[in-house]
C-alpha cells in the first residue's frame, strides 16, 4: 500500500481555515509558511534551492536542528532503553563539541555540530509499545520539526516508526530491530537499520557453531511467538541445516510468558543436544535461568542467536559461560577498532559501565547520518538519503561501515562470541570472548530474497 502525499490538500487547508500565523505553521504547510517563521535566517533561505519536504527547511534553525529519540524508559525493555539513551546523549555531545572519535572522521572533524548547527534533542518514552512511540515520534515531527528520528527497541515499534517517517518524509534511524522484515518486506525509503538482521546473524553464527560444536547436531528451539521470533528461527534453521544440523523441536512461546517450565520440559524430552533460545530481554533471562534449573544447560550446548544487552550481567558468568551467540557489538571490539576504544572510554567515564550494543548502535548511526548530511551539504531529506545510499564507507567504531542502497541495511561486522566462564574473566564486565568478526558483506541476504521493494525516492 503506497502513501499518497497530501501536498495538494495542505494548500487547500490553508485557504479554508482563517487562522493565525501560528496556526498556519502548525498546519504543516510548505515553504510559504516556513518563510513566515521568525527564527529562520539566511541559511535556511539559502537552502531553498530545495523544495520544502517533511520538516525541511522548517526544522533547520539558525543555530540548531532537532533530533528526536524514541526509546523505552518504562516497561519490560527499560534497561536497554536507558543504555540507548546514554549512547544517544554521548553521540550528540561528540558531534556538538568534537571528540577523539569524530576527529578521525573527515567530515566530522570540525566538531561543531552538523553543517554548523548544534544538535538539540529530546528522548520520549515509548513504553515498549508501538502506540506511545508513534505518538511521541509524531509530536517530534509536528511540534519540534525533527530532522531525524532515532532509537527504538523491538521490531514492531521500529517498523511503525519507519512507516511514519516514510509518510512524513523524515529519516528514521533504527538502532534495535532484529526482524528481517524491517529491511525486508516492510522496508522504507526513509528507514535505515543498523543492527544485523536475523538472517545476517544466523548466517554468521551457523558456520562458527558447526566449527566449534560439530556438524551432526540436533537442535531444539524456544521461539517467542511473534514476527521477530519467527524471523530468527527461520534464519537459524536455514543456516544450521545448511551446515549439517537437524532441527528436532520448536516450542512456540506466547509473548508475556514468565514461566517456561512447560516448554523446557518438552525441550528436555526432545532428544536434542543443542538448545537454541530465541527469546529476548527479560524473557531470555527467565528462560535461561529456568533452563539451567531444569538441567537442560548441563546436558545440552546453549546457543542464543541474538544476545540481549544485559543478559550476561543479569544471569552471571556461571550460567552464560560457554554460551554461543551473536550481539550487534561487544565492547572488547575496542581491541580491533581504535575508535571503539575512545567510545568505550568516554562512555565509561560518564556512566560507570561499559556500553552495550544498544548504546553503540544509536551512537554509530548518529555519526553515519551526520557524515551523510555533511557530504550532501544539506538537510534536505532526499539528498541525505542519496548520500546514505551512495555506499560511502565511514570509519566508525565498527570499522568501515556503510548502508546498502537497495534495502538500507547497514553493512558492518557481525561479532560471533562465546560466553566466558568466571575463571576466564579478566574484569567484572568481561563476559564474552569474540570468536570471529564476520564481515558484513559475507552475510548480507541477496536483495531478491529480502522481499524489499523500496518506494521511489520522490514518494
Amino acid at each position: 500500500m503506497s502513501y499518497k502525499p497530501p501536498t495538494k490538500d495542505r494548500r487547500l487547508a490553508k485557504v479554508v481555515l482563517p487562522v493565525s500565523r501560528r496556526g498556519l505553521m502548525k498546519a504543516g504547510l510548505g515553504a510559504s509558511a516556513g518563510l513566515l517563521l521568525p527564527r529562520m535566517g539566511a541559511t535556511a533561505l539559502a537552502q531553498t534551492k530545495y523544495p520544502a519536504l517533511g520538516t525541511f527547511p522548517a526544522g533547520v534553525g539558525d543555530k540548531s536542528v532537532f533530533i528526536g529519540g524514541v526509546m523505552p524508559l518504562t516497561g519490560p525493555y527499560s534497561a536497554s532503553g536507558k543504555d540507548m539513551q546514554l549512547g544517544f546523549e554521548l553521540a550528540v555531545e561528540h558531534l556538538n563539541k568534537g571528540s577523539r572519535v569524530t576527529e578521525q572522521i573527515p567530515t566530522l572533524k570540525k566538531g561543531n555540530g552538523v553543517l554548523g548547527k548544534t544538535i538539540q534533542f529530546q528522548v520520549a518514552d515509548s513504553q515498549t509499545k508501538p502506540d506511545p512511540a508513534v505518538e511521541a515520534a509524531t509530536r517530534f515531527i509536528r511540534d519540534n520539526k525533527a530532522v531525524m528520528l532515532t532509537g527504538t527497541v523491538n521490531s514492531a515499534v521500529s517498523i511503525a516508526l519507519e512507516k511514519l517517517g516514510q509518510r512524513e518524509h523524515v529519516i528514521v534511524m533504527i538502532g534495535n530491530s532484529g526482524s528481517n522484515d524491517t529491511t525486508g518486506k516492510d522496508c522504507q525509503r526513509y528507514g535505515f537499520r543498523a543492527q544485523p538482521s536475523a538472517y545476517m546473524a544466523a548466517k554468521a553464527l551457523a558456520p562458527v557453531l558447526a566449527k566449534e560444536l560439530g556438524k551432526d547436531k540436533k537442535a531444539a528451539y524456544l521461539v517467542p511467538d511473534y514476527t521477530y521470533g519467527h524471523s530468527v528461527y527461520d534464519s537459524m534453521k536455514q543456516f544450521t541445516e545448511q551446515a549439517g544440523w537437524k532441527t528436532v523441536g520448536q516450542q512456540l512461546v506466547p509473548l508475556g510468558t514468565s514461566d517456561f517450565s512447560s516448554y523446557l520440559l518438552n525441550i528436555g524430552n526432545s532428544g536434542a543436544d543443542v538448545f537454541v533460545n530465541v527469546a529476548f530481554g527479560a524473557d531470555a533471562t527467565a528462560s535461561t535461568k529456568q533452563a539451567q534449573q531444569f538441567g537442560i544447560l548441563s546436558k545440552m550446548k546453549y546457543v542464543v542467536p541474538n544476545i540481549s544487552q544485559f543478559q550476561a550481567k543479569e544471569l552471571g558468568a556461571a550460567i552464560m559461560g560457554g554460551t554461543y551467540g551473536t550481539q550487534a557489538w561487544w565492547w572488547t571490539e575496542e581491541d580491533t577498532y581504535p575508535l571503539a576504544k575512545s567510545f568505550v572510554e568516554d562512555f565509561e567515564k560518564k556512566n560507570n559501565y561499559k556500553p552495550r550494543w544498544g548504546a553503540s548502535e544509536v551512537y554509530i548511526q548518529m555519526l553515519v547520518w551526520a557524515d551523510a548530511v555533511e557530504r550532501a551539504g544539506t538537510f534536505y531529506p532526499i539528498e541525505v538519503i542519496k548520500a546514505l545510499e551512495a555506499g560511502h564507507k565511514v570509519n566508525s567504531i565498527y570499522g568501515e561501515v556503510y548502508y546498502r542502497g537497495d534495502d538500507h541495511q547497514m553493512v558492518r561486522p557481525v561479532p560471533v562470541m562465546v560466553g566466558k566462564k568466571p575463571s576466564e574473566m579478566k574484569g567484572p564486565e568481561d563476559f564474552f570472548q569474540v570468536l570471529e568478526l564476520v564481515p558484513g558483506e559475507q552475510v548480507l541476504p541477496p536483495i531478491a530474497e529480502t522481499g524489499c521493494k523500496m518506494p521511489p525516492i520522490e514518494s
Binding site: T74, G75, S78, D225, Q251, G256, D259, Q290, E314
Partner: protein, 291 residues
C-alpha cells in the same frame, strides 16, 4: 499426541505452578471476601516480596531470613496501605476501591523501577534447592519440588489460621456476613486491617519463593494478577479452599494446554473463567450473595 511421560511431566508442572498461584490467590481472595476490595495492587505486592529476597540474598545466604524479611516488609506495606489509604474507601462505591488499588499498583511498580532500574535482578537458588531430581518419567528441578512442599506448609498454616483460631473465625464470619459480625460487637475495622495485612503477606511470601525461579523485574507481578483473578473466580470469591483448588486447576490448564497448542494457554484460562461466571457464578466453593 503427547506421550504419557510428557503428560505426566506437564501435569506435575501444573501442580508446581498452581500451588504458587494458590498462595497468591488466597491472599487476594480473603481480602476480596472480607473487605470487598478487589486489590489491583496485589501483583505489585508479590513483586515487592521478590525484590526483598533480592536485597536480602545479596547480603546473606539464609533463605529463611529472606522469607522472614519478605513477610515483614509486606506486613508493613499491607498495614500502611490499609491504614493510610484503603480505610478511607470503605463507605465508597466498590469501583473506587478497585481504582485506588489500581493507582497504587502503578505507583509501587514505578517506584521500584526508579530505585532498582529495569534490569532483571539475579536471585540465587538456596543451597538446598539446587540440582535435579529424577521423578521416574522425567527430570525436574529440585527447587520446584521443594516449592510445592513449602507452599503446602504455608497453605496449611493459612488454613489453621482461618479455621482454628478466633481471628480466623471472625474473618470467615465476616466474609459471610459483615453486618452481622459488626452487630455482634467485633471491631470490624481492626479485622479489615488484619485481613488486608495477611493477604499482602501471602503475596509477598510467594514473591520471595518465586524470585529464584524467574526474572525479577518491576513488571513481574502483572501476569500473576490477572491469573489470580481467574483463580478466585473459578474457586469462589472469598473462599480459601476455592483459591487452593482454583490455583491448582488454573496451573493445570496452563500446563496441559501447552501440550497441544501453547498459544492458546492464556485464552484457555479466560474461557474457563467466563464459563464459570456464566454457569456457576459463585465458583466451585464460593458462598452465594457476594455480587
Amino acid at each position: 499426541m503427547p506421550t504419557l511421560a510428557q503428560f505426566l511431566s506437564q501435569a506435575f508442572n501444573g501442580v508446581a505452578l498452581g500451588s504458587l498461584l494458590a498462595l497468591i490467590a488466597s491472599g487476594l481472595s480473603i481480602i476480596l471476601g472480607t473487605l470487598g476490595v478487589l486489590n489491583f495492587a496485589h501483583g505489585a505486592m508479590f513483586m515487592l516480596g521478590s525484590y526483598t529476597a533480592f536485597v536480602v540474598l545479596g547480603h546473606s545466604d539464609s533463605f529463611g531470613l529472606a522469607l522472614l524479611l519478605g513477610a515483614l516488609v509486606l506486613m508493613i506495606v499491607g498495614l500502611a496501605t490499609e491504614r493510610g489509604l484503603i480505610r478511607f474507601y470503605y463507605s465508597r462505591p466498590k469501583e473506587d476501591q478497585i481504582l485506588v488499588t489500581f493507582g497504587l499498583g502503578i505507583m509501587i511498580v514505578e517506584a521500584v523501577r526508579y530505585l532498582f532500574g529495569g534490569l532483571s535482578q539475579p536471585v540465587p537458588l538456596p543451597s538446598w534447592g539446587q540440582g535435579i531430581v529424577n521423578l521416574g518419567f522425567f527430570l525436574y528441578p529440585l527447587y520446584r519440588v521443594e516449592v510445592i512442599g513449602i507452599v503446602a506448609a504455608l497453605l496449611l498454616a493459612f488454613y489453621l489460621l482461618l479455621y482454628r483460631t478466633r481471628i480466623g473465625l471472625v474473618v470467615r464470619a465476616g466474609i459471610e456476613d459483615p453486618l452481622m459480625v459488626e452487630l455482634l460487637g467485633t471491631h470490624v475495622r481492626r479485622m479489615f486491617m488484619i485481613v488486608f495485612t495477611i493477604g499482602a503477606m501471602a503475596a509477598g511470601i510467594a514473591g520471595v519463593i518465586y524470585a529464584p525461579l524467574a526474572a525479577v523485574i518491576p513488571n513481574m507481578g502483572e501476569p500473576f494478577l490477572v491469573e489470580c483473578f481467574v483463580v478466585i473466580v473459578i474457586g469462589g470469591l472469598g473462599s480459601f479452599p476455592g483459591a487452593v483448588v482454583g490455583g491448582i486447576l488454573v496451573g493445570e490448564i496452563l500446563s496441559l494446554t501447552t501440550l497441544f497448542d501453547p498459544a492458546y494457554a492464556q485464552a484457555a484460562i479466560y474461557a474457563a473463567m467466563t464459563l464459570v461466571l456464566l454457569i456457576r457464578p459463585r465458583g466451585l466453593f464460593g458462598a452465594m450473595g457476594r455480587a
